[in-house]
Symmetry: C2
């Protein structure tokens, strides 16, 4: 089967195009009618760097690639629109394998109302997915950037953190889950359902599109999705906003089971929650008067929202984020850096 | 140097953002005000598959990646707008190497009025560039797809063909250029300037943006850029338009020097021109009454335009393209297929 036949098969399996798409995949370019303003982001996953075939199915890889790309649109408060997918396939990947990845992409597209409007299929030495996503809003000022956090704003985070990192530890060490009860009896049990939920946080993150839109509508002044870890991503907001972000360590919501995995692997649960990435929750700054509306809107979509700190005046224009324990001690932590990533694939 | 510092360095070297871009690279997403309608296309180049470091400089690789992506916008008659770049970098690629690629991207962006509005930098086993480009037009119907070719339309092609394929042969066999005079004295000499021009056609293609816009304005009914080769790409237009495209072999413009390279390598020059790809010229269908305006507009931008055939009624809805010699013989040829690409990298 050649490129064109396979592309046709992949196209057949996609959900129907959204109303903005006048011409989808198959011509030199897709044609859309974007409306007022667009937010565009691009993300890539590479086998051996961002995932391993031993721990993730092809369908999960397809799902995660699109979900993590869409997470950036969630962080803008955008409505998901279109996605354009480059699939780099090794020679040994046959038609069934590529259709599995396509099925994962198509499922997340259907779940989020995204149209996969174009793509390119190329040979590559390692399975590679590079995805551009386009989101919409009536006006450019409706999007929430990282740059608007203002002294006096509160910091809120959706969901709970550390789950993706704990899930990765469980995936990479299959004996860990079984040993947990014996190794760390004092930290609470890790029942199979909780362990599975942690693994799913790593393999199948959910882009917080509805929560992002709700936080934008409630007046969020700055927002980011937690891909690099709370510490690093708060640092990005601080730098873009030239503000000091102070996060109270004890208020950071930690996902169920993270403590058990942390203790069993001799790690600090808080560090797993703030220094490891890939939770794809949202961190937002919001003026105190917007908090009530934000809480109400997020409760309506069953998404937890936790107040974890505040925005203060920075010492200098570079801005800074700090995670403090109640005793005043700072939590040493750093964000995730693609080029400093250790060799061990995740 | 880490990801964020390097991205900042790359950003510094980009040309200024265009008027549609409200927020460029550096946040979760870029923000643009697209206007009426957008054409979006995505393309990828992979080391060892689409280029080799032995025959292409990093700057040329950066240039070609953006130029070939923009070629798809030229084929829509779009005005180039924004580009979003995924750069997959092997561990051994250092800061100077990545900045060289960035310089190539920035140069083509400046030459074409494209804003590089976002990107992602990841580790990858082979140097990879995946680029999404967005072009603009007032209305969706201003774009020219592959699907509108109508019986009675004339077929025109910009520039001359076969140059990229002949250039590749010269690049892959460095002794070929020197041997040409002796091997094929009857085919005209291949002077160093012509040989160099052929190599440049392979390494540094020009997206025909102005020509594409002019052909669209002159009433082109269907258009495609010649990436897979005239035979294959005419087949795509025929299929999308459900029409028969008849191309007269003797009228196909062949680039200077192609004949010499073809004979020296025991190839048919016409086959080099129609079956090999990467010339990135435009093939358009245009009603006879539009031809005068198209000729005039292309003469004004010094772009050759040649009439090479006509659109006829197809035998069935699948459409078909045929390249005929004057004696009626069809030229056997096939387009380029990514997945059937031979192992030897280009």
């Amino acid at each position: 089967m050649g490129e064109f036949e396979l592309l046709a098969l992949l196209r057949e399996r996609l959900p129907a195009a959204g109303p903005r798409v006048r011409l989808g995949s198959g011509d030199d370019a897709a044609i859309t009618i974007p409306g007022g303003a667009t937010a565009t982001s691009v993300d890539a996953l590479v086998e051996g760097v961002h995932f391993r075939r031993e721990t993730a199915s092809l369908r999960e890889i397809g799902r995660k690639a699109l979900a993590t790309a869409l997470s950036d649109l969630a962080a803008m408060g955008a409505t998901a629109g279109e996605a354009y997918v480059v699939l780099g396939a090794p020679e040994e990947a046959g038609e069934p394998e590529l259709l599995e990845i396509g099925a994962g992409l198509a499922a997340v597209a259907a779940e989020t109302g995204t149209t996969i409007a174009g793509g390119d299929l190329v040979r590559a030495p390692a399975l590679t997915l590079a995805i551009t996503v386009v989101g919409h809003a009536p006006r450019p000022e409706d999007f929430v950037t990282r740059a608007g956090a203002h002294p006096g704003d509160l910091l809120v985070v959706t969901g709970a953190l550390g789950g993706a990192a704990a899930g990765l530890l469980l995936l990479e060490d299959v004996k860990l889950a079984g040993a947990l009860g014996a190794v760390a009896p004092g930290t609470g049990s890790l029942d199979p359902a909780t362990a599975d939920a942690l693994r799913r946080r790593q393999l199948d993150p959910t882009p917080r599109l509805a929560a992002g839109a709700a936080l934008a509508a409630a007046g969020a002044t700055a927002m980011i999705d937690l891909s690099d870890g709370l510490a690093g991503d708060a640092g990005h907001v601080a730098a873009a906003s030239a503000a000091l972000l102070v996060i109270e360590a004890e208020t950071v919501p930690i996902a169920p089971g993270v403590a058990a995995v942390a203790v069993a692997t001799r790690r600090d649960p808080l560090k797993l929650a703030v220094a490891a990435g890939e939770d794809y929750e949202l961190l937002a700054a919001i003026p105190p008067e917007g908090l009530g509306a934000a809480r109400k809107a997020l409760a309506a979509i069953d998404t937890p929202l936790t107040e974890i700190g505040r925005v203060e005046v920075a010492e200098d224009a570079r801005g800074r984020a700090e995670i403090r324990r109640r005793d005043g001690e700072a939590v040493p932590s750093r964000g995730f850096d693609q080029l400093r990533r250790p060799r061990r694939p995740r």
